[in-house]
Amino acid sequence: MEECKESSQKKWTHLRKVLERPGPFSHPEFEPSPDILDFILSTCKILIVGAGGLGCELLKDLAMMGFKHIHIIDMDTIDLSNLNRQFLFRLKDVGFSKAEVAADFVNKRIQGCQVVPHCCMIQEKNPQFYRQFHVIACGLDSISARRWINGMLVSLLEYDENDVLDQSSIIPLVDGGTEGFKGNARVILPGMTACVECTLDLYPPQVTYPLCTIANTPRLPEHCVEYVKMVQWSKENPFGVPLDGDDAQHLTWVHEKASERANQFNIQGVTFRLVQGVVKNIIPAVASTNAVIAGVCATEVFKLATSCCTPLNNFMVFNDIDGIYTYTYEAEKKENCTVCSNIPHPVTIEDPSKMKLKDLIQFLCENPKFQMKNPGLTTNIDGKSKTLYIPTIDVIEARTRPNLSKTLLELGLSDGQQIIVADTTTPTSVILKLVYSISDIEMKT
């Protein structure tokens, strides 16, 4: 009753114009009615993945657009360096959970809003958790987390006995990403339109590092360089001027300090070239780009939830280095997509008597179609399940390690063999089908 009253409140008059009136560009199924606003205010459940630069904007935008039941998930805690753009956080919040502080802020600021925070990894939530949402919006800086969410939503799809997709099992995914003055926003209807895996080649290798990693848990030599660049330089200011990536003296100093730091953390590989690459390739997070991309994503969530306008089809890129530029196109669904096509993926093997298991794993990591991180492989031989290699469980890793140096023939894998691959980049397994290009091979068993 209270919610019904709320939907007639004056503060929603703007939304009511687009929700209660027909329009020439609305979705064919759109039926203008006050019920749509009621749905947004009382029933519609949205999940925001990531409570960082984009996540803060998304949460604010969606709450201001009338959505009341918003969940937000992020495992990170607030760092001092977040405060310039992650505007839901204050100095007193440093060290606390991003999801919790963001939820708290919006719940206090926007009356009736019921944001539910989840301070954990996305992988810790089960399919039932994800199934409860009407739309999921992502503001992430990591490609593997995107791939995981995408894989999860594909795994929730239900098909009938004739392989026809049950439309009600589709949860639309709105994904935004920014890098400096560039950004992109896309709408994915899992099983219907191009998914994250279909367009994996669009993502270049990641070159930016979160400041908390740089400050606290450096792993890569790049992290050491970033630390010197972003923290030590301004603290010690060795030449009394800002760091110039083209000045050899400056780079030499950074190189020296970064090497010291690398030694301290037992990190190998700080070279002069690496220092130069990192110092000059900085892509800062820009607050205005986040505002634009999150705004576009929130608009799409609103369109998807209400049908008051046709959604973005399906990929938009944004850039405001030179004027303001956008480009929108339809990314194509890949017929043989490793995630959303549901068919085994042929992998051509030139010579199975030469190719070792570790070569196959390397292929899965380096091939642009798979781009796996740390795959585990199992198969089925003569009806019996066989573990080829599992890197994530120490005992099994030790037991299966010798397999790495064996060839595919030595492992008893034949032409057409199906291999089940598990990897952190996807919540469901990928099935490979080995295709030997040399046909007459005698099995050396």
Partner: protein, 403 residues
């Protein structure tokens, strides 16, 4: 500013135009956005272009570069040295070889560049074992650089326009430091036929020692050129009777480093758009799908607002009649400008459906865009919008028009 009445906007625009204070106007209505930047004159030094090709000048090496590169005889190096020699040295070596066999000319045409690339390719293979040969990374990069960097780049049009501008040719006591530096640059360009060296060496496969040596050579030359432009700028200042500290050396260095990125924007006054009897939209109106029609509709909407003191479609029972009224106003506007184009009714209908509604997410997008344009104007970095931007969130497309 959002949805300001014409009678407020026009005098404000005129006043700010005369005071040379930039003005940015935003409109957010339904799924549509509009941004207009009014700026009389704006100069950009650091435009941060994407995909810039390196400035290597191997066709006109200065003595220090020439001496160093000549000291490296690629074909006398052993396998290990060869795999660490900088690509610039490789390119220089084969460029000279090419010149020797082509009457001293550098490759200009594509087929000539391919010839040079083949020469590099032929010598760059090294044995990997099992009779397999691989092309070393540094040789690959040299081949890549041969495409774009073997010859000195011509002066870009946007820089030449600045050098030919009256502000650059006829300095006065009121000239800004930008124009004084441009004037000094102009003299150097006239004497040397090229812009100052950028002084930046791109990352390349090479050992640290030779890379740093090369980097120092490029940097030193850029520094020398910047110093000579600085000295010239100081003379200009003296001749104009301005204080010596009106330009600093670091300012000139920064200017020289980015001399290929210089941009000049001379905008137009927003009030003129409203007062001119003819607005030149001819080229834009040719495409019936163009977003320029939303500009026309928004102009009609402003006039509607001034005439009726309400947005079209503001009242639920007035949507249909307001569509007709708004169409009438728009047709009158088009006639005033001398056009007989017919608007797609559905776009007018959609705007009347909004009834002046402002959607938070759309305003948020415009706010983000507008904020960045303001930062560009203040910092003189990156190129600002010229000058009208329409965002259509119905289809998630946008367009920029110069009005």
């Amino acid at each position: 500013m959002r949805n300001v009445l014409e009678r407020v906007l026009i005098p404000l625009s005129k006043h700010l135009w005369e005071c040379e204070v930039p003005l940015l106007v935003c409109q957010s209505i339904g799924f549509l956005g509009y941004i207009r930047l009014q700026i009389k004159e704006h100069t950009v030094i650091e435009a941060h272009p994407d995909n810039e090709s390196p400035d290597l000048r191997l066709d006109q090496p200065w003595p220090a570069l020439n001496d160093y590169l000549n000291s490296i005889d690629i074909e006398q190096l052993d396998q290990k040295e060869k795999s660490h020699v900088p690509p610039v040295a490789i390119l220089h070596y084969y460029l000279n070889k090419y010149k020797d066999s082509h009457d001293g000319n550098v490759p200009q045409k594509r087929s000539e560049r391919e010839q040079l690339q083949q020469m590099i390719k032929d010598s760059g293979h090294s044995e990997e074992g099992n009779n397999r040969f691989i092309l070393e990374e540094n040789f690959e990069q040299a081949i890549h650089y041969a495409n774009t960097c073997a010859t000195t780049k011509p002066i870009p049009d946007h820089v030449q326009t600045i050098l030919d501008d009256d502000c650059c040719v006829k300095l006065t006591q009121n000239s800004s430091s930008f124009w004084i530096m441009c004037s000094a640059l102009r003299e150097m360009v006239q004497a040397e036929g090229a812009l100052p060296l950028k002084g930046t060496l791109p990352d390349m496969a090479a050992d640290t020692q030779s890379y740093i040596t090369l980097q120092n050579i490029y940097q030193k030359q850029a520094q020398n050129q910047a110093e000579s432009i600085y000295r010239r700028a100081l003379e200009i200042i003296r001749n104009l009777g301005l204080p010596q500290d009106s330009i600093t050396e670091s300012e000139v260095k920064y200017f020289c480093k980015h001399s290929s990125e210089l941009h000049l924007i001379r905008g137009s006054c927003l009030a003129d758009e409203y007062q001119k009897t003819s607005l030149d939209l001819t080229s834009y109106l040719e495409d019936p799908d163009s977003l320029i029609f939303y500009y026309v509709i928004l102009r009609g909407l402003e006039r509607f607002l001034s005439e009726f003191n309400a947005y079209p479609g503001q009242l639920d029972d007035q949507v249909e009649p307001d569509i007709l009224k708004l169409k009438g106003i728009i047709n009158k506007l088009l006639n005033e400008w001398g056009y007989s184009h017919v608007l797609r009714d559905e776009r007018v209908h959609e705007v009347c459906r909004y009834g002046g509604a402002e959607l938070h997410s759309v305003s948020s997008i415009l706010g983000g865009c507008a904020a960045q344009e303001v930062i560009k104007v203040i910092t003189h970095q990156y190129k600002p919008l010229v000058n009208t931007f329409i965002y259509d969130l119905i289809n998630s497309t946008s367009a920029t028009f110069c009005l």
